[in-house]
Symmetry: C2
Subunit: 328 residues, 2 copies
Amino acid sequence: MKPGPLLLAVDVGGTTIAAGAVTAEGEVVLEERVPTHRDGPGHALGVLEETIAHVRLAADRLDHTISGIGVGVPGPVDTKTGRVGEPVTHVPELSGVALAARLHERFGLPVFVDNDVNALALGEWRFGLGRGADSMVMLAVGTGIGAGLVLDGRLIRGASGFGGELGHTPIRFDGPRCFCGGRGCLSVYASGRGLAEAAQARVAGHVEAPLLQAADGDPMAITAALVFRLAAAGDALAQSLVAEACQAMGAMLATIVNGLNPEVVVVTGGVAASLAPLETRILRAAAEYALPQALARTRVTIVPGDKRTTMRGAAALVLYEMDSRATR
Amino acid sequence: MKPGPLLLAVDVGGTTIAAGAVTAEGEVVLEERVPTHRDGPGHALGVLEETIAHVRLAADRLDHTISGIGVGVPGPVDTKTGRVGEPVTHVPELSGVALAARLHERFGLPVFVDNDVNALALGEWRFGLGRGADSMVMLAVGTGIGAGLVLDGRLIRGASGFGGELGHTPIRFDGPRCFCGGRGCLSVYASGRGLAEAAQARVAGHVEAPLLQAADGDPMAITAALVFRLAAAGDALAQSLVAEACQAMGAMLATIVNGLNPEVVVVTGGVAASLAPLETRILRAAAEYALPQALARTRVTIVPGDKRTTMRGAAALVLYEMDSRATR
C-alpha cells in the first residue's frame, strides 16, 4: 500500500530552520535542521527553499506525496496574501516577501504562511493539549511573549495580524515602561527580556548582589534563567522578581479566563521550563483575579515546547487552512 | 403584498421588559414596555410571556408573521440548552429556567436566549457600528462592565458562558479589591459602581467635600454620574477619579486592541454618555499602551445605548443563530 500524503512543515527561527514531513495525525516522519544564516546574513530565503526541496526529495524517496507546505515565521504575516510583515525577529530579509506565492511558484503545492506562534497554537489545538476543545489559548513565554487564540473553532488573527499580542497587555496601568513603548505590560514582569532587564536594573550599584556575582560581575550577562535559578537557591532579590512574575502571569491568566473563557490554556515557550515548577503558585495567583466559575472550566497547563511541536504547528496550519477553504 | 416576516425581540431588564417586532433589516416596527415586576416579585416570567403574546398578536393584526423569538437576559445563559444560569441581576426568578424550551413550547416558534450584552453586541455587529466587520468588541459600561466579542465572524461565548467578562480584567495586578472578589479589575476604576464606591470612600470624614455636599451630605447618594458632573465643574477629587477612569479605560482598550485586534470597538451602556465627551482623552490613554500598528486598524467609538438597541440585539441573536445552524 502506498503511504498516505504528508504535510511539509517548516519553522523558521532566528537561529535554526527546522523542516520536516508530518502525517495528518501529527507524527513527524522526517526532520531536518539547518542554521538559518548558514549562507551568511541576508540569505535565509535561499536556505529555506533549499531545505524545503531537500525534505521533499526525502519524502519522494519514501514514496510519500506532499499535499501542502506550512511555514511558521517569527513575525507578523498577512495571511490573506501570504506576505510577511515586519519586524521578523533575526530574519529581516523575510520582511515584505510574498512568501506563500513565491514558494507556491517554486514547488507547485498549496503553501500557507503564518506567524510561528499562531502555527504553534494550531498544532497544540489539533494534535496536543487542546485536542477536541472548541477554544484554546496558547501563551508562548520566551524572550518576548506571544499568544495564539483559537476561539469557537477559529484562529483569531485580528484585523492587521496582531491577534494574540497578549505580551503587551497592561496588567499594571501605572507600571513602568515596556520595551514595546507601552507601560506595565505583562512582558515587563514575566518575559525573558523583561525579567533580565528588571534584574539588571535592580543589581546596579550592588556589587555584592548574588545575581551579579553569578553573572561574573557583568549585569548584561544576567538572564531570566539565572533569576529563576537563584530564586530557587534562596536569593531574596531573585525571589522578589519571580514572585512578581508569578503574580503577573496569574493576572494574565485571569484576563484570558474571564474575558475569553477558553476550555484550555497552554503556557509554553523558552521560559516555560522555569515556570512549570511554579505552576501551583501561578494558578493560586490566577485564582486571586479570576471568576471562580470561569476558572473552574478552564484547564491550564504549563509545558516547555520543542522544535517538533513547532513543526507539528506548521503542519496543522496547512490542515486548518485546507479545512477552512473547504467549508466556505 | 404580504409584509415580510418579523423577529420578536425581547430585552429583560431589572426594571423594564422591552419587547417588540423587528424586521430582518433591524427596523423596530412594534414596541412595548412593561415593568418587569408589575405583578410583584417572583412573577417576571409570567409578565414576560404575556408581553410576548401581546406583541405577537399586534404583529398578527398587521398581517406580519413572526419567524423566531430572541430574548436577552441580564445574566449568564447556557446557549446550548437555552437555560438561564445565575445570578440574573434583579430578576432572580429566571435563574435555572429552561427559558428557550419553555417559550418554544408556549409559542411554537424557534426561540433563542442569550446574555443581554451578547445580544447587544450581535445587534451592533449586524445593524450598527460593527456592520460589515469581521471582528467587533462591544464594551458595555454601566453599573458593572460587560462585553460582547464577535471575532472572525463568531460570537465568543466561552466554555461556560463567561466569554466577554472584560469588566473583571485586572489592569492593576496589585490594585484594590473589586466587588467580584478579584483585585484591580477595570470595574474598580471605570464602572458606575466602582466609581461611586471609590468616591464614597474618598469623601469619608470630609464633610466639606463638594461631592458630599452635592449629594446632600449622604455618601451613599454619590453616583458615577455625579462624579463626572463635578469633575466637569472643576472639583479636584472628582477630576482625579475621572482621570483614573480614563486611564483605566485606555488600558482596557489596549488589551482589546493588542490581544484581539478587532476592526471595531464600541463602548456603550449607562456610563457611556458620561464617557463620550472624554473620548479623545480615553483614546490618548489607549495610545500609551496599545501597539500603534494594531490601534491604527481599530475604529473605536463611544455611544450611549437605548432600549431600541437592545431590541435590535435580541433580533440579531435570532438571525445569528439561524444563520449558524444553516451553515452547520
